[in-house]
Amino acid sequence: MGIDVVEEGTKVREVLGIAFQEARGFWRHKPSSILRFHASMFDIDHVKRQDLIEQTMKDLELWESRDKKFMHLSGGQAKRLETAKVLVQRPKLAIFDEPTSQVDLRGKRKIWDKIRELRDQGSTVIVATNEVREAEYLADRVTILHQGQLVVRDSIPKLKDAIAGGDVVEIGFEDPVSDKLVAELKSLGGALTLSPEGNELRAKVSRAEDWVPKMTSASYNLGAKISSIKITEPSLDDVFLHFTGKALVDQQ
């Protein structure tokens, strides 16, 4: 955006919206007045402001609590209010710090959808989270930090592909798997392990999308008829554990 963060702090804050991890303070204010104040600080159009606040509060199921004092909100409501501030603001750069901690499952999904909507409207969104499922749902790119250090940063598909043997391919054949077929599949490369058992073969590969077409061609050429293929890619949990575990080993 071309703004000097040291020299032009106020300008930076004009384009930045932060939903803090802990929604604290303003004990005696009401959610509606907190949002009105926030909108006024970011020069949200006065005419549109009230409608925007009302819609955001309804979307996040805060409308019924609009006139309660902040101190009487539940942890989940306070957290949703923290998110609502950024949604009303619609900043160019939005930072959400643990946006759904203390929020129930239904509330989580609502917050996630609104964050995605914000992204689709053109905001750059940074989400700090310990919840892998949240990152998987929201992120285009994931940065994994371990003990304050950047371990890896990439898109989710690339991170998953980076785990050697992370994709598991389970193939069912009409006949028992022959040694010849196993040898042929080994010669294709790309598979870390091949485990035949009766009519089934389990293979751990790095990129299933590359290996499976080769495997089907080789099987066809040997006359081995495939009855089923199941591909399981690693979850972001696996990715996280893979990279942070590796980091731990590196440190030791």
Partner: protein, 254 residues
């Protein structure tokens, strides 16, 4: 500037949302004046003419002092209740943030002190628009000076709140006792008067009394008092702006 006013208004709305504290403050003022003020005035008798009036202005100085102390505490509470990081994320410069705090402090002080001042002047038959305005201006300047001092000291609270509270208690005890809040410099023994001229309250109290027509022979030179009160306001507010700029960047909620 609009944002600074918005920020101040946000805090002031909380203040106005609960008028109990103002009513209590006015009631305490009236009670103190009615009981202690009237009795002590009789004891002082002719040694200091019109001591009741002298005392009532001193009491207002205390209200201003405590109100300015509130601003410092308010600032520290913002940090410890998690509001400060939010305020710091808003598009307002750090000096604008401080101005918003000062406006909050001024409104807080004026709300607490203006009704007692007007009541005292009315009862005393001394209520004029110019007198009331000049007196409020003097109290306002003093309030700014104390506010600046309290905000400047708030850096202690970022290390330890208990020490900050202890420093405030100690400081208020010393600044009030060693000042002309309750007794004029002219009647003080030599071992007290040199210390009392160090208290900013001395200048604020004597300036306000002079503005309201108290006998000048018991007061400091009003020009000196006005200069010192203004200098304290400007210097402590500048200092607090520097300190706020230095310390609050990177402050974490407790």
């Amino acid at each position: 500037m609009n944002r600074v006013l918005n920020l101040a208004a946000f805090n002031i709305r909380v203040l106005l949302g609960d008028p109990t504290w103002f009513i209590l403050s006015w009631a305490l003022f009236a009670l103190q004046l009615a009981i202690y003020g009237s009795l002590i005035s009789r004891l002082v008798g002719s040694n200091l003419p019109n001591y009741f009036f002298f005392y009532s202005i001193g009491l207002m100085i205390i209200v201003v002092f405590e109100s300015a102390e509130d601003v410092g505490r308010h600032f520290v509470e913002h940090a410890h209740e998690g509001e400060l990081p939010y305020f710091l994320s808003l598009p307002v410069s750090r000096s604008g943030f401080l101005v918003a705090q000062a406006i909050y402090g001024v409104v807080n002080t004026l709300l607490k002190v203006a009704p007692p001042l007007l009541a005292v002047l009315f009862i005393w038959g001394n209520l004029t628009v110019s007198g009331a305005l000049f007196a409020l201006a003097a109290l306002f300047l003093l309030g700014l000076g104390i506010t600046g001092t309290m905000v400047s000291l708030s850096f202690i609270a970022f290390k330890a709140v208990d020490i900050y509270m202890a420093v405030l208690a100690g400081l208020s005890a010393l600044l009030i006792r060693f000042s002309t809040v309750f007794y004029p410099l002219a009647v003080m023994p030599n071992y007290y008067s040199p210390v009392s001229v160090l208290s900013p309250l001395t200048y604020g109290a004597d300036l306000t009394r002079w503005v309201l027509g108290f006998d000048p022979k018991y007061l400091l030179n009003p020009v000196l008092a006005a200069v010192v009160v203004t200098a304290i306001a400007v210097s402590t507010l500048s200092l607090s702006a520097r300190i706020v700029d230095k310390i609050i960047e990177g402050v974490k909620a407790a």
